[in-house]
Amino acid sequence: MGRARFFPALLLAGAVPIAGLTGCGDREPPEDPAPMSVTGALSGEDQGAGLTRVEGPEPLVFPRDHGPHPGYRHEWWYVTGHLFDGEDRHYGFQATLFRFNVAPESTPERPSAWATDQLWMGHFAITDTQGEAFHHFERLSRGALELAGGQPDPFRIWLEDWSLAADDDSPGPFPMRVRFQQDGFGVDLRLEAEKPMVLQGDGGYSQKGPERGNASRYFSWTRLAAEGRLTLEGDERRVAGQAWKDREWGTSALGEDLAGWDWFSVQLDDGHELMFYHLRREDGGVDPISKGLWVTPAGDSRVLGLEDVDLVATDEWQSPDGQATYPGGWQLTLPEEGLALELRPVVADQELRAGVFRYWEGALAVSGERAGQPVSGHGYAELTGY
C-alpha cells in the first residue's frame, strides 16, 4: 500500500499554496507562498461526506478498474523505472498522474462545462545518474474540457499532453505508452508487462487504519520491460530498461501521530522484487501496520510484516535550502530469504521541491547478496515527512 501513504504527508505539509499549485519545472517557488488551502479539500480528515469508501475486499473488475474512480477522494497511476541508453548510461524516471475529488458535495447539474469536482496532478522527473542531475515538473488541471481525465477502455489517462495509454487495442493497459514531455525533457516509452499484476494487502484490499472504510484498493505491476526514447535538455536518445507501476484509489485517512514514511521498491537481477515501507510515527518509532511484499521470478507473492524486514539508514542528505534532511542510504535485510542489501541513491538530490508537495522520490542502486550469492539491481525510494 506504499503510495497510499502519500496523502497524510500532504496534511502534514500544512497549507498548500495555490501559487505553488501551478509552479512547475525548475522554476523557483513563489517567494511568499500564500496558502489558498486545498489541503482541506484534499485531506478531508472528517469530511468524507459525498465520497465513496473502500469498505472490504471486493473482486476487481477490469477493464473498469484500470480507469478513474471519480467518487473516491484520491487515485493514482504511478510509474517509476530505470533506463539505459546505448552507452549504458543510467537514468531514473518517475511519471505519475494523480486524481483528486476536491469538491465531493458540489452542486449537481451545473451549466458550465468547466464545472467539476475532479482535480488532476502530474509529477514527472528524470534522474541523470552520470550527469548527477535531477529534473522535475509538476502540472495541475481541473478534470474538465478534456484538459485532463481518464478512461478504462481503451485505457488512457492524461493531463494535457502527458499521458499513460494502451499502445494497441489490448483490453488492458499493457502494452502501455508513456508520454511525458516538458521544456526539453521527456520520456516516450512502451511498457510491456513481464509478470502478471500482483494484488497488495488482502486481495487488493489495503487496510490503512483500524476503522472500517479506512482502506484503499492497491495493486502493482512489479516488472515491466521499458523501451523507447528519453529526451534530456533537448537531446533525444534511445533507451531500454525496466519499470514498476502502482495503482491505488480510496478515501482513506491516516492517524494523526504519523510523521511520514520511507517507501522502497527493489528489482533484483535474479528476477525477484521487493516492496517495503516504514510508516514513521511522530515519536520516532515505526508503526506496526508497516508492510511489504516479496515477489518471486514466477510472479508469486507474499506479504511481509514489519518484523520480517530489518531496515537501517546509513547516511543522510540535506536539501540545499536546509529545509529538510533525508536519510541518504540504507541496509536492508530479509533473513527469511537470506537477503542482505545495500540501497544507495544514484544522485543525492532527488527531491521534488518545485511543486505543491515537497518529497524525495529517487532512483537507487542496489547491491548485496541473496542466499550467499552476490546480487544487484535497482530500486526507487519515496521519503516523505522530513
Binding site: P30, P35, A41
Partner: protein, 843 residues
C-alpha cells in the same frame, strides 16, 4: 540676517492684508491645479492598478470583442499549441444591491492556471475552501480589506444584480494579497471559479479572454495566424491603453482649465508685487543712494516674491488636496459615464503632486514678480522718480503692449485654425487670452480718457475723477481689469460652450428618440445593456396599442487594439427616424439593407478618418469582411464612435438573433402609462427590465449631460473666485495707494460720501470695462472651444448657441465683483480721518 532681507521681511509683515491677498491668489491657483491633477491622477491610477493587477505577467490576450469566443479555444491553446502559461477568464460587472453605487467586477478564473499568468491571484492567501469554491455556482471570494470595509464575514450573502437579474452569492472566503498593486487593483473584484462565473454571468460555453505569457513576438505572430476568425491576439496593455487614450482628451481639458485658474493667480502675484515695489520706490532710491546695487534690489524683491509664492504654494497643496476629495468623485463619474468603469478610493498626494504644485506656484510667482523686481532695481539712486513718472512710463508702454497683444491674438487664432493637435489648440487659447490681457492697458487708457467727459457731465467732478483715475493708476488698474476680464471671459466662453453643447445634444435627442417607449435590461453605467431574454421582442410586438417595434443590438468587435462598438438596428422603411446625417449617400437606406454597407457616427469618422464611400473592414464570425460606409450620422452618446448596421444584415452575417433593446412605437392615441403596464405584463417575470418613455430617456440623458459638465462649472466658479479676490486686491491697493490723494480731497472739503462714491465709481468703471472686454474675448473662447477643442477632443461638431442672458449675467457679475471689491476700500478710506491718512503717507 542681512539688513536688506530684514527690510523685506518687515515690509511683508507690515502689509499683512496685502500679502495675504497675494498668498490667497497663488493658493487658489495652485489648489485648483493640484486638485485637478490629483483627481485625474487618482482616477487614472485606479484604472491602471486594476488593469495591472488583472493583467499580471500576461504579455498578450486573446479576445473577441464583447461576445467573447468558444471556450474550446482554451484546451486547443493549452494542449495542441502547448501554451501552458495561459489563463482563461470570464468577466462581467455586477451591481451590489445592498451597497448603493457599488459595482463589482466579477472575475471568473481557473485557479490552477492562474499563478503562471497573474501572480495577483496566485499570491492570494486566505482560507478559501476549494470544495465550495469549485463545487458551487454561488461562491465568491473578495479581498480581506474589501470584506472588512463592508463588514462582511465568510458565509455572508451578497445580493447582486447581474444583467438585470437579481442573484445572491455567498462570500466563500477572503483573500489577502502579497502585492500592493493587487490590494488596490483587486479591491472591487469578486473572484469566482470560472464555472461559477459562467453560470452567474450567463456566459456558458464562452470565454471573454485568455491571458497568456508568450516568450517572444515571433511566437505571437505565428499564434495570431492560427487563431480562428474573429478572434484576436493583442498585447496585454492594448485594451487599457486604448481606453486611456480615449479619456486623454477629457483629462487634458480639465488640466487646461485648471491652468487657467493659475494664470489668474499669477496676475494677482504680479499685482501684489508691483504694488509692493511702487510703495517702496523712495526706500529703494535711498538704498541705492547708500550703495546697494541693482542686483541686490532685484534679489530682494524676488526673495519676497519667493516667500509669498512658497507660502501660497504650500497652502495651495493643502487646499488642493481637500478640494480633490470632492473633485475626484466628479471626474470619476464623468469617466464612468463616458469611458470605462473605474472606482477610486482615496486620493493621496504623491511626490509628483508636490513637485508640480510647488513648481507651478513658485514659477508663476517668480515670473509674475520679475517685471516689478526689474522695476525696483531700476530705481535711480535718489528718490526723485515720482509715482507720476512711473505711471507715465506705464502709459507710454501701453501702445507697445497692445501691439504685442494683437500679435499674440493673431498667432493664437492661427494656431486654433490650423492646429491638428489638441495641445496646440490649447496653446492657441492661452495666446488668445494673453494677447487680450496685453491689450488691456491701452484699452483702459483710451476708454478712461474717452469716458472722462461724459462721466464728468453725468456725475460731476467725482465721476470725471473716477474715470481718469483708472488711467492715472494704469499700472495697477490695468492688471485688475485684465484679471477680471480673463475670469469673466472664461465664464462666458465655457458657459456658451456648455449651452451650445447642450442645445446641440437636445436637438439631437429630439430627433433620435422617435419611438414612444424604450425597453432594455438595466446595466452597469458605461456597459451596454445585457441581451433581452429570447422571445421578448415578439411578445412586445403583439401587445395592444403597439404599432411596431424596432430592435437594437449592441456589441463590441475586437479590432486592432480597440473594441469597436457595433450597433445593429431595425431600420425603418426608408424612414430617417432616429438619425441626423452629417453626410450620406442618397440611397443609403436601400444600400444598408441590400449591401454590405454601414453608417458610422461622427466621432468614429474623426477618430478613424473614414467617411462616406470609404471601405471599412470588420471582423465577423466568418472572417474579416469589407463594408462600405454610406453615411455619417451625428451621435453624442459616445466620443468613442460607433458603426451602425441594418439588423437584417447583422443577423445574416453574424447568425445572431440576440437583441439588447426594443423601441416601441405606439399606435396613435395610446396612453403611454397604460401601454407600459401592458408591456410589463407581456414580459412576465423572466427578466428585470426598464421601460422608459422617450421623455424620460430625454430627461435622463440630459441629467447625465449636466452631470458630465458639473466639473466644468466647478472649475469655472473657482477661476471666477480667484479673479474676484484679485480684483479686490488690486482695487484695494489702488485705493490705499491713493489714500493721501483722498485725504487731500477730504482736507479740501470733499464729503465722506463723495470720496466713497469716487472709489466705488472707479470700481464700477473697472468692473464694467472688464465685463465689456470679456464679452468679445469670451465669445472668441466659446468659438474656439466648440469648433476646435471639442472637435479635436471628442469628434463632436457643435452649433454655437449664445444666450444673451448669459452675456448680461457676465457683465453683471463683473460689475458686482468690482463693486464688492471696491466696497471695503471705499468704507475704509471714507472712514479714515484725513490727518491720519496724510501722516501715513509721509515716509
Amino acid at each position: 540676517m542681512h539688513l536688506l532681507r530684514r527690510a523685506g521681511l518687515r515690509y511683508l509683515l507690515g502689509h499683512r492684508w496685502q500679502v495675504a491677498l497675494a498668498v490667497l491668489g497663488i493658493t487658489l491657483g495652485v489648489a485648483v491645479v493640484t486638485a485637478v491633477d490629483l483627481a485625474n491622477r487618482s482616477a487614472l491610477q485606479a484604472f491602471q492598478l486594476s488593469a495591472d493587477a488583472l493583467t499580471g505577467e500576461a504579455t498578450h490576450s486573446i479576445t473577441a470583442g464583447s461576445e467573447g469566443f468558444d471556450e474550446a479555444l482554451y484546451p486547443w491553446l493549452r494542449v495542441e499549441q502547448g501554451e501552458r502559461r495561459a489563463s482563461p477568464v470570464v468577466e462581467g460587472y455586477a451591481e451590489d444591491l445592498d451597497q448603493a453605487a457599488r459595482v463589482w467586477r466579477v472575475l471568473g478564473v481557473d485557479a490552477f492556471a492562474e499563478s503562471e499568468v497573474r501572480p495577483g491571484l496566485g499570491g492570494i492567501a486566505g482560507q478559501a475552501d476549494l470544495a465550495l469554491f469549485m463545487g458551487r455556482d454561488d461562491h465568491v471570494l473578495m479581498l480581506e480589506d474589501a470584506a472588512a470595509e463592508l463588514d462582511l464575514q465568510p458565509g455572508d450573502r451578497l445580493r447582486l444584480r447581474v444583467q438585470g437579474r437579481e442573484r445572491t452569492v455567498v462570500l466563500g472566503g477572503t483573500l489577502a494579497t502579497a502585492r500592493p498593486v493587487d490590494r488596490q487593483g483587486l479591491h472591487d473584484v469578486l473572484i469566482m471559479d470560472i464555472a461559477a462565473a459562467q453560470a452567474l454571468l450567463g456566459r456558458t460555453g464562452r470565454l471573454d479572454r485568455i491571458d497568456l505569457v508568450l516568450p517572444d513576438e515571433g511566437r505571437a505572430a505565428t499564434l495570431a495566424e492560427d487563431l480562428p476568425d474573429g478572434v484576436q491576439l493583442r498585447p496585454a496593455e492594448a485594451r487599457s491603453s486604448a481606453l486611456l487614450d480615449m479619456s486623454r482628451a477629457f483629462r487634458l481639458n480639465l488640466t487646461a482649465f485648471s491652468l487657467l485658474a493659475l494664470l489668474v493667480g499669477a496676475f494677482l502675484i504680479y499685482n501684489a508685487m508691483t504694488f509692493a515695489v511702487v510703495q517702496r520706490r523712495a526706500l529703494f532710491g535711498r538704498l541705492r543712494a547708500l550703495g546697494v546695487d541693482r542686483v541686490q534690489i532685484l534679489r530682494l524683491v524676488l526673495l519676497e516674491a519667493a516667500v509669498v509664492g512658497l507660502v501660497g504654494s504650500v497652502l495651495g497643496l493643502v487646499v488642493g488636496w481637500l478640494l480633490a476629495q470632492g473633485l475626484v468623485g466628479l471626474v470619476t463619474r464623468t469617466i464612468n459615464d463616458l469611458y470605462f468603469v473605474v472606482q477610486v478610493r482615496g486620493v493621496a498626494l504623491s511626490p509628483h503632486n508636490l513637485a508640480l504644485g510647488l513648481a507651478l506656484g513658485m514659477g508663476a510667482t517668480l515670473v509674475a514678480a520679475l517685471l516689478p523686481a526689474n522695476e525696483a532695481a531700476r530705481s535711480p539712486p535718489r528718490a526723485t522718480l515720482s509715482r507720476a513718472d512711473l505711471e507715465g512710463r506705464s502709459r507710454a508702454r501701453a501702445p507697445r503692449l497692445a501691439g504685442a497683444g494683437v500679435g499674440a491674438i493673431l498667432l493664437g487664432s492661427a494656431l486654433l485654425l490650423v492646429s491638428p493637435a489638441l495641445l496646440v489648440a490649447f496653446v492657441g487659447i492661452f495666446l488668445l487670452l494673453m494677447g487680450a490681457a496685453l491689450m488691456v492697458p491701452w484699452l483702459v487708457l483710451r476708454s478712461s480718457l474717452a469716458l472722462a467727459r461724459p462721466a464728468g457731465a453725468l456725475f460731476g467732478l467725482p465721476g470725471r475723477m473716477a474715470a481718469r483715475g483708472l488711467s492715472a493708476g494704469l499700472s495697477r488698474s490695468a492688471v485688475a481689469v485684465a484679471a477680471l476680464m480673463i475670469a469673466i471671459s472664461t465664464v462666458v466662453g465655457v458657459g456658451v460652450m456648455v449651452d451650445s453643447f447642450r442645445g446641440t445634444f437636445e436637438r439631437w435627442l429630439d430627433a433620435s428618440l422617435a419611438a414612444d417607449v424604450y425597453i432594455a435590461a438595466p446595466s452597469v453605467t458605461g456597459e451596454a445593456s445585457p441581451p433581452l431574454a429570447p422571445g421578448l421582442p415578439e411578445a412586445f410586438a403583439g401587445v395592444e396599442g403597439v404599432e411596431r417595434i424596432t430592435t437594437g443590438r449592441y456589441l463590441r468587435l475586437a479590432r486592432g487594439g480597440e473594441d469597436w462598438r457595433l450597433r445593429a438596428y431595425d431600420l425603418g422603411r426608408d424612414r430617417a427616424d432616429g438619425f441626423m446625417f452629417r453626410e450620406g449617400d442618397p440611397a443609403l437606406w436601400a444600400r444598408l439593407r441590400e449591401e454590405d454597407a454601414v453608417l458610422v457616427t461622427e466621432p468614429f469618422q474623426s477618430r478613424h478618418g473614414v467617411g462616406t464611400g470609404d471601405p471599412l473592414t470588420l471582423p465577423t464570425p466568418a472572417g474579416e469582411r469589407s463594408f462600405t460606409v454610406v453615411g455619417v450620422t451625428y451621435d453624442y452618446t459616445t466620443s468613442e464612435g460607433a458603426v451602425i448596421m441594418a439588423a437584417e444584415r447583422y443577423r445574416s452575417i453574424w447568425e445572431d438573433e440576440t437583441v439588447n433593446s426594443v423601441a416601441v412605437h405606439a399606435a396613435a392615441g395610446t396612453d403611454t402609462a397604460e401601454l407600459v403596464a401592458r408591456l410589463r405584463s407581456a414580459a412576465g417575470e423572466a427578466q428585470a427590465l426598464r421601460y422608459r418613455p422617450s421623455a424620460e430617456i430625454r430627461r435622463i440623458s440630459l441629467d447625465v449631460f449636466d452631470r458630465t459638465f458639473t466639473i466644468t462649472h466647478v472649475l469655472r466658479l473657482l477661476a471666477t473666485g480667484v479673479a474676484v479676490v484679485g480684483v479686490l486686491g488690486a482695487l484695494l491697493a489702488l485705493a490705499l495707494e491713493r489714500s493721501r490723494e483722498m485725504a487731500v480731497l477730504r482736507a479740501m472739503g470733499c464729503s465722506v460720501q463723495q470720496v466713497r462714491r469716487l472709489i466705488l465709481g472707479q470700481s464700477l468703471f473697472a468692473g464694467g470695462l472688464s465685463g465689456l472686454l470679456a464679452l468679445p474675448l469670451g465669445l472668441a473662447l466659446a468659438v474656439a472651444l466648440t469648433q476646435t477643442i471639442n472637435q479635436r477632443a471628442f469628434g463632436w461638431s457643435l452649433g454655437v448657441h449664445v444666450d444673451p442672458l448669459l452675456l448680461l449675467q457676465a457683465v453683471a457679475l463683473a460689475v458686482l465683483a468690482a463693486l464688492l471689491a471696491g466696497w471695503y476700500p471705499a468704507r475704509r478710506m471714507a472712514a479714515t480721518p484725513p490727518g491720519d491718512a496724510l501722516r501715513e503717507e509721509v515716509e
